[in-house]
Symmetry: C2
Amino acid sequence: MNEFIFDDYLRSNVLLDAEQRDILFRHSLVREFRRGEFLLREGETCAHRFFIERGAVREYSIDPKGREHLLLFAVEGWFLMNVEGVFFGKPSSYFIQAIEATRIVLLDERQVCRLTREDKVFEELNRNLLYEHIRMLQARITLLQAASAEERYLDFVQAFPEIPLRVPQAMIASYLGITPESLSRIRSDLARRNACTRRSS
Amino acid sequence: MNEFIFDDYLRSNVLLDAEQRDILFRHSLVREFRRGEFLLREGETCAHRFFIERGAVREYSIDPKGREHLLLFAVEGWFLMNVEGVFFGKPSSYFIQAIEATRIVLLDERQVCRLTREDKVFEELNRNLLYEHIRMLQARITLLQAASAEERYLDFVQAFPEIPLRVPQAMIASYLGITPESLSRIRSDLARRNACTRRSS
DNA sequence: CGCCGAGTTGAACTGAATCAAGAAACGTGG
DNA sequence: CCACGTTTCTTGATTCAGTTCAACTCGGCG
C-alpha cells in the first residue's frame, strides 16, 4: 500500500496508529475510472467515501431543463463523497464523474463508522469533513449573492490554484455560474491587466 | 406549557411520549426579543436550538465591505439554529436577529443530545434537520448559479409563501442576491402580468 | 490531411445595478 | 388620534456586466 498517496495522507493528517491504518486498508478498494466515467449517478445511494489517488472529478446536478450545475471539484489527495448518501443514507441528487483518468480508493462507510465510534480522533476528522462542506456551501452562497463574475473567479483560483490548470474552462464557468464565453473574457482581461502591472513594477 | 405552539409541534411531529416532552420542557427556556435584537452574534458559539413561538428572525453575515448577506429566514412554528455552533461547537460566522417582536423557546443542546442518544426517533429528527439544511444550501447554490432574479423570487415565494408578506423587501432582495429596486420591479411586473391573465381567463 | 471539440473574439442585446427623486407606510410623541 | 419625521417602497433614466449568437482559431487525433 505504500505506493499510494492515501497512505501518506493518513500518516500525515489523521494520526491513526499502524493497526488502524491496516484496518482501513483491508476494507478499502482501489478502482480506476476513465475520463467521463461515473463514480455515482443521481438517484443512487452511495455509502462510500472516495479518496482520489490520481486524476480529477466533479460533482454536479442536472436541472429539469437539462442544464448542468457544478457543485464541486476534487483532485488527487482530496477526500470526496456524496454527503447525502454518506452522512444521511439518502439518494444522491448529484452525479460524480471523472474528468480525467482517475484512481480512487473506496472506503466502505460501515468501516469508517466503526472507526468513528471507536476513535475520538477519527470522529473529529469525520465531523470536520461535514463542517467544512457546510462552510464551503455557505461561503459559496454569499459569493453568488453579491460578488461579480470576476470576483468569484479570483476567489476560486485563490482557493484552488491547481484546478483551473487542468479542468475544462466550461466546467469552471458552470461552477461559477457564468457562461464559458464570459469566463474566457474575464481571463483575458486579467492576463492583460497582469501584463501591465508587471511591466510597470 | 399548553399555550405554546411548541407543544403542538412536538405532539404532532416528533412522537415523543409525555415524559420525554416533559424533560424537554423542563430544560427549555422562553425568551422575548424585540425587533432588531440579536439572538446570536458573529463569533459567539451557540449551543442552543431555537423554536420560534411568535415572530420572525433572519440569519445573515456581514462581509469585509460591510454588506449583509442573508442566509435564511424563520417564522413561528419553525426550528432554527446556528448549525456551526449546534452541530459542530464552532463559533458562528452569522448573526441571528429578530425581524419582529419574537418569542423563542430555547433548547439546551446538551438535553437535545441526551434525547438524541436515547431515542431513535429524536436522533432521526436531528439528522433530518441537518440534512434539510444541506439540501437547502445546495439547492440555493444551483438557483443562484443559473436562475434569473425573477425565477429565484418565484421559487422563494413558492417555497415560503408567508414570508414575503411580513418581512421587509430589502431583506428578501438580500436573500435573493439582488437590489431592493430590482425586487420592486420584479414584483410589479408579476402583479401586472397576473392582472392580465386573470382578466383574460 | 482534415475533422472535431474547446477556447476566443466580436457585435448586438438584455437583465439587473446604480443614482436620484418621489410616494407610501409606519411608529412615535405630542 | 393626528402630525411628524423616518424608513421603506416605487418609479424613471442611465449605465454596465454578462448573455447570446455567430464566426473564427487553435491544438489534438484519427
